[in-house]
């Protein structure tokens, strides 16, 4: 499959009062047509900064210090602002976390959707309005002809997120970047929005980059997963590989720290400590101070990406041939045995 988007060695730094923050450090990944990649990590791990760099929507104090973002072979970072404007919203669209701030409160929602269409396509206003109505119906807003003329405050949180999705879909983008689109929503609404994104993707063949910290959501949407920590991708693989054969201790920690529906009694396996500040990064692997499996090497040098399969890579010295053999911990393997609802077909 041909890569549509290729992010290569991307590094982003923010200049702050306290010093220079290395928010994204040498991040590389690719995205094929029609696939969904989940970028997973905690706040401050660089997942949003990565996507904002792709969209060239970084704050003024941010600087892309290295790397390229290639869309069909063309480096977006080298485009003029006006050329980038033609890409943004048109070929790559973004769904933001907070639908209340993503929508213009003073503009009727029908116009907000139609505006995106007329901005990128040479169509009449009437045609744009017809398409906007269609989109509203597609994202599940009932009674669309009437609601077309309403303002954002007249909609509930879930409905607003649907409208934001309608705007993102308006120009038929090739790539949708969804930045925590369901974090502000309840589980039932979250499930509906995930279904909606998946259905839209099936209809248009768009690729999706899904930013989230919720591993349940990841399992639901992702074909491939990239786990980020302290500005780097520490493990990447197919959804199956990440959930059923994780290799990085941080991935183990994330999976183990959330209770499944079968966890009871025993203490949760919390990851000790807190993420490092990205101003003064420790020497070696940034996760080492919190890593119970850390080797001496982890405190000295950053581990490279070790290959596990053609699709599965992890940056941990545990995968070095010289490292002592550490098996995937029991509590990771047992998670599946304990879950009566989990399917049994695992290799």
């Amino acid at each position: 499959m041909m890569d549509m988007l290729a992010v290569k060695h991307l590094s982003v730094a923010f200049d702050t009062v306290a010093g220079r923050v290395q928010a994204v450090r040498n991040v590389s990944f690719s995205l094929c047509r029609g696939e969904t990649l989940a970028l997973v990590g905690e706040s401050g791990c660089g997942k949003s900064a990565t996507c904002r760099a792709i969209m060239r929507l970084l704050a003024r104090n941010a600087q892309i210090t290295e790397g390229s973002v290639e869309l069909d072979g063309q480096d977006l970072l080298k485009l003029s602002s006006s050329a980038m404007r033609k890409i943004r919203g048109n070929r790559i669209a973004m769904i933001f976390q907070d639908p209340m701030t993503a929508l213009d409160p003073t503009m009727k929602i029908g116009r907000q959707i139609a505006e995106t269409i007329t901005l990128h396509r040479r169509v009449s206003h009437a045609a744009a309005n017809r398409r906007a109505l269609e989109l509203l119906a597609q994202v599940g807003i009932e009674d669309a002809p009437r609601r077309f003329h309403q303002y954002p405050h007249e909609f509930s949180g879930g409905q607003r997120q649907r409208i934001v999705i309608a705007i993102a879909l308006a120009a038929d983008p090739d790539i949708l970047i969804a930045d925590e689109p369901t974090t502000a929503l309840d589980v039932t609404m979250q499930a509906q929005i995930l279904d909606l994104i998946r259905a839209s993707q099936a209809r248009t063949g768009a690729s999706v980059i899904f930013i989230t910290h919720d591993l349940g959501v990841v399992a639901n949407v992702a074909d491939r997963v990239a786990i980020m920590y302290a500005g780097k991708i520490v493990e990447t693989g197919t959804s199956q590989e990440i959930f059923y054969d994780p290799r990085h201790p941080y991935t183990w920690g994330l999976l183990a720290s959330m209770p499944t529906l079968n966890t009871s009694g025993e203490r949760l396996r919390a990851i000790p400590g807190t993420p490092p500040t990205l101003i003064h990064l420790p020497q070696g692997d940034a996760f080492a101070p919190r890593n119970p499996y850390a080797l001496e090497a982890d405190f000295l040098a950053e581990p490279p990406m070790f290959k596990i399969s053609d699709t599965h890579y992890a940056a941990t010295w545990l995968l070095d041939p010289r490292a002592p053999r550490i098996d995937v911990p029991d509590f990771i393997q047992k998670r599946w045995e304990e879950d009566p609802c989990a399917s049994k077909s695992r290799s």
């Binding site: 905690e42 706040s43 949180g157 309840d186 589980v187 039932t188 609404m189 979250q190 499930a191 995930l194 910290h213 919720d214 591993l215 349940g216 959501v217 990841v218 399992a219 639901n220 992702a222 959804s239 199956q240 959930f243 059923y244 920690g253 994330l254 999976l255 720290s257 959330m258 209770p259 499944t260 529906l261 966890t263 009871s264 203490r267 949760l268 396996r269 919390a270 990851i271 000790p272 807190t274 993420p275 599946w336 879950d339 609802c341 989990a342 399917s343 077909s345 695992r346």
Partner: protein, 299 residues
């Protein structure tokens, strides 16, 4: 083991934010046993936070009764009685950024309850108590003179917990105590809450929308929908055999960190509807209650 004695007893509790408005909480009854964790779940706006705040009288009670250890706290009128009650019932808030006074040092934030209730003989004893509290919630006591902005979100929530523990309460309302925290920090805070519960014999009302976490921490749960409790019972039992269509829908929507399960799942839809005024709680199996209409159907 748990003593089967109610510490908090709630009867027909109702709250209206404005006269004549639809009640945010309507005719809610339940009890919380000594030493247990009672979980409240439901979508945002269902009334779970409003309920929690009424239990510690941070919100007025429109009608109904709340008994704390036998005392009717809805009838408290004097400042002295309220002080005595507040010492025993504390709350931990959702947002560790908004709930700590940014101009106060951590030591004074944590010591607030000690000062108000005169729990220390002198300054030295007060500071010792704070140091003790900080240590038990996993904060370095030598950070006592720092300000809240110098701490991370998880550490701030620990400060909030220390502040709640300072008055040696018997009951704590935990209102979404982990939803603002990162995944790796959530488990730390939940472990801390559980440890303190065992150590001090605390009783919790745990409000959250993370259904897996609520199941993990709670002995019993209540499911709220549009201001009513529609189902209530032992947490294991309710999750295993949900009876109300809303509970069934809610539980079927929990995202699981397991791709194979997620791919093959089916969700149970729930048609939004009004709950009949005359609906009442009926016991469907021992300890498992369901809100039913007068014909005995789930309301």
């Amino acid at each position: 083991m748990r003593v089967e004695k109610s510490l908090v007893k709630v009867e027909h509790l109702t709250h209206r934010y404005a006269a004549g408005a639809t009640p945010a909480v309507a005719d809610v009854s339940f009890d919380i046993r000594q030493g247990e964790t009672f979980g409240l779940v439901g979508e945002s706006g269902c009334g779970k936070t409003t309920t929690g705040r009424m239990l510690v009288r941070l919100l007025g009670i429109t009608s109904g009764r709340v008994y704390f250890d036998g005392q009717d706290i809805s009838a408290i009128r004097t400042r002295l009685e309220m002080l005595a009650f507040r010492r025993q019932a504390q709350i931990i808030f959702q947002d560790p950024y908004a709930s700590l006074d940014p101009r106060k040092k951590v030591i004074d934030i944590i010591a607030e309850g000690i000062d108000v209730h005169h729990l220390a003989e002198n300054r030295r004893e007060r500071n010792e108590q704070v140091a003790c509290l900080m240590e038990s919630v996993g904060l370095r006591p030598d950070y006592a003179n720092r300000f809240p902005h110098e701490f991370s979100g998880g550490q701030r929530q620990r400060i909030g917990i220390a502040r709640a523990l300072a008055t040696q309460p018997r009951f704590i309302v935990c209102d979404e105590p982990i939803s603002a925290l990162d995944v790796s920090i959530q488990a730390q805070v939940v472990n801390l809450l559980k440890d303190e519960q065992h150590k001090r014999g605390l009783t919790y009302l745990f409000i959250a929308h993370d259904l897996s976490m609520v199941k993990y921490v709670s002995d019993r749960i209540g499911v709220m929908y549009r201001g009513r409790i529609v189902e209530m019972g032992d947490a294991q039992e309710v999750y295993a055999h949900p009876q109300h269509p809303y509970t069934q829908s809610l539980l079927s929507s929990i995202p699981r960190p397991d791709p194979d399960t997620e791919r093959n799942r089916s969700r149970i839809p729930y048609e939004k509807r009004e709950i009949a005024q005359d609906a009442t709680m009926i016991q469907v199996s021992p300890g498992h209650y369901l809100l039913c209409d007068p014909h005995g159907r789930p309301a």
